[in-house]
């Protein structure tokens, strides 16, 4: 697996550059034939449709924006309470409230198209037919870099994670979606499985161009005074720094199990977090929950990655999957 980007400086060879020469690290990344100016993206459901952050950060500094899950029809979502803060993390059970595929195309996509950051559209539905229908609607849109098939949402009654927790269903929905998709298809996997590699391989076999992992871990919290759940939905998806070690392990396992590129996410809030995912094998990363409490974190990670590469005199491609396991 090589993520090297063909460009002039690579053929010159790194060793020929004199030490006094300024080293310009290459942090572009290419996935399924799509070039991203950098490998730091914002995760679905944590960044709205991009515009909400435009007064706080320069969106053009991001590699990509993965928009909130889009379903074929608008969805109203779950009653309140929808979120609850936990130690170093948070639970959410939003229920995929969104404007639906048609309004996304007319109201949200035109703005996203004007950015240097790529637009990746997260796609959600309750049945294989509806995933296909959603993709067919979105195919009419110009300027979408890729789809990210959400088969791992833990917060909706009878869809989402069902597809992501049965390898046969994973294959079925990915194959049908791939056939319909005009743009490259990424598949977002659930961590709520016994063996992530089974699902990574199933998605790859069915034609996924890349894999995003992980979605949230199913969790819950209880108010002991009232003995009621903290969330209306009883259970919810755990995200934030507390899930990072689990996500990192799964990215590492999946990267060794499949050939398609891996996009890593789960609790990334600093440059060091992102680097861990690259070293474990991710070709891009997504910043999620950190956007809520630190809107500048994604852009700082882009700069932090550049600084690290400069200091180490390494290009991004040389970091990806570069984990050294002593003695083996």
């Amino acid at each position: 697996m090589s993520a090297r980007i063909k460009s002039g400086w690579l053929s010159q060879g790194k060793g020929q550059a004199s030490p006094s020469e300024q080293f310009v690290p290459q942090i572009e990344t290419e996935i399924a034939g799509v070039r991203f100016q950098n490998p730091v993206w914002t995760a679905s459901g944590t960044f709205g449709y991009g515009k909400e952050f435009s007064s706080l950060i320069d969106l053009n500094d991001l590699g990509a924006i993965v928009v909130k899950g889009i379903s074929p029809e608008p969805m109203e979502g779950n009653p309140s309470p929808r979120i609850y803060e936990t130690e170093s993390g948070m639970l959410n059970a939003i229920g995929l409230q969104n404007v639906g595929a048609r309004r996304f195309l007319t109201e949200k996509l035109p703005f996203l198209r004007t950015l240097r950051a790529r637009c990746v559209v997260n796609v959600f539905a309750y049945s294989t037919e509806d995933y296909v229908r959603c993709i067919e609607i979105l195919n009419e849109g110009e300027g979408i870099a890729a789809y990210e098939l959400n088969i791992s949402c833990p917060n909706t009654r009878c869809g989402g994670m069902v597809f992501g927790s049965d390898p046969k269903l994973t294959e079925e929905v990915v194959a049908a979606s791939k056939k319909a998709a005009r743009y490259p298809l990424f598949v977002k996997l659930s961590p709520n499985v016994t063996d992530i590699t089974v699902f990574a391989r199933a998605a790859e076999c069915a034609g996924a161009d890349a894999l995003s992992l992980v979605n949230t871990l199913v969790g819950m919290a209880i108010d002991v005074e009232t003995r009621t759940p903290r969330l209306w939905n009883v259970t919810g998806g755990l995200s934030g720094p507390s899930i990072k070690p689990v996500a990192l392990r799964m990215v590492y396992q999946a990267a060794r199990a499949v050939r398609v590129p891996i996009v890593g996410l789960g609790g990334i809030s600093t440059t060091e977090d992102a680097l861990e995912f690259f070293i474990a094998g991710a070709r891009a990363v997504q910043v999620g929950t950190a956007n809520f409490y630190d809107p500048g974190s994604s852009v700082r990670i882009v700069q932090g990655l550049r600084d690290y590469c400069k200091r180490k005199r390494l290009h991004l491609s040389e970091i990806i999957g570069s984990l050294k396991v002593p003695g083996r």
Binding site: F47, E76, S80, Q97, W232, F292
Partner: protein, 286 residues
């Protein structure tokens, strides 16, 4: 909207476990409209991640505090009135002058958006109804209304006398204040809706506009009274928030509407809503 690291200038303990936190941010202070809020972040705590939504209680010109008698200039200081009850607010209560906090604001639609003003002008009197720390959302609106010459009255309820914080700030702005405490330690014994209902019944010919902020049960009872007596009612809603930016959709409440419009974000479409817009009786909605 600005995302800044700002300096705490004061964190004054009040009665009960209430505090008045002052932070310096000229940009946010000058951009604030009455009824807006800010998201406050405790820095350097990786276990407490999320910012806390806080009503902007008051704005101060720090220079005029020092030299009394001087006309206040543009505000530089934002004040937040809060009660230390949960993990976030307890940490907040330990903040010392000179320490830094994250501040994102000002956020949301306050009490004086264009659509509200015509109805305010049709009233004889504005009635502010506060439950506990809900008072924090109402001072700036009351100040603005007083400047514009409106008649105002405050109905303020709490569990005990200790909960009735900030009344001195309201005194010069209103024609009267009616208190109620559940334990009877100040004002009426019982809920604030009792003196409110008496007042509404006694002045059934007058036109009022109610501005309300407080806990869920108190809001529902007040909104019910406003409806029964036929007065328009603006409520400042509270909910757990993840971001304050309108992207996490964690703070959504049920409103009149269908599809994805059945829920609106307290942080973005709110926190101030017309009472009739909110669906009050669905389980867990508020």
């Amino acid at each position: 909207m600005y995302d800044e690291t700002v300096i705490v200038t004061e964190n004054r303990p009040l009665s009960g476990s209430h505090f008045l936190l002052s932070v310096e941010s000229p940009r946010q202070a000058q951009a604030t409209r009455p009824g807006q809020f800010a998201m406050l972040r405790i820095l350097g705590r990786s276990d407490v991640l999320l910012r806390r939504p806080m009503s902007i209680y008051d704005l101060k010109d720090k220079n005029s505090q020092a030299k009394s008698g001087r006309q206040p200039g543009p505000p530089q200081v934002l004040q937040f009135l809060y009660k230390a009850v949960g993990r976030g607010t307890r940490l907040m209560s330990g903040l010392k002058p000179g320490e830094k906090v994250g501040l994102l604001g000002p956020l949301g639609h306050g009490f004086f958006e264009e659509e509200y003003l015509p109805r305010a002008h049709q009233t004889n009197e504005i009635l502010h109804v506060a439950g506990g720390i809900g008072i924090a959302a109402l001072l700036l609106p009351a100040k603005r209304l007083a400047e514009a010459g409106f008649r105002q009255r405050l109905f303020f309820g709490g569990r005990s006398k200790d909960d009735l914080v900030g009344i001195e700030d309201f005194r010069p702005l209103v024609r009267g204040m009616l208190m109620a405490t559940e334990n009877g330690s100040a004002g009426y014994r019982g809920f604030v809706t009792r003196p409110l209902e008496e007042y509404l019944a006694r002045h059934s010919k007058k036109k009022f506009l109610l501005m309300v902020c407080g806990p869920g049960a108190m809001l529902r009872a007040t909104v019910e009274l406003a409806k029964r007596y036929g007065h328009p009612c603006l409520v400042s809603m509270e909910n757990r928030m993840g971001c304050g930016l309108g992207v996490c959709l964690g703070c959504c409440i049920r409103v009149q509407g269908t599809g994805h419009e059945a829920y609106q974000r307290v942080c973005t479409e709110g926190p101030v809503f017309w009472a009739e817009k909110i669906v009050w009786d669905t389980g867990g909605s508020v």
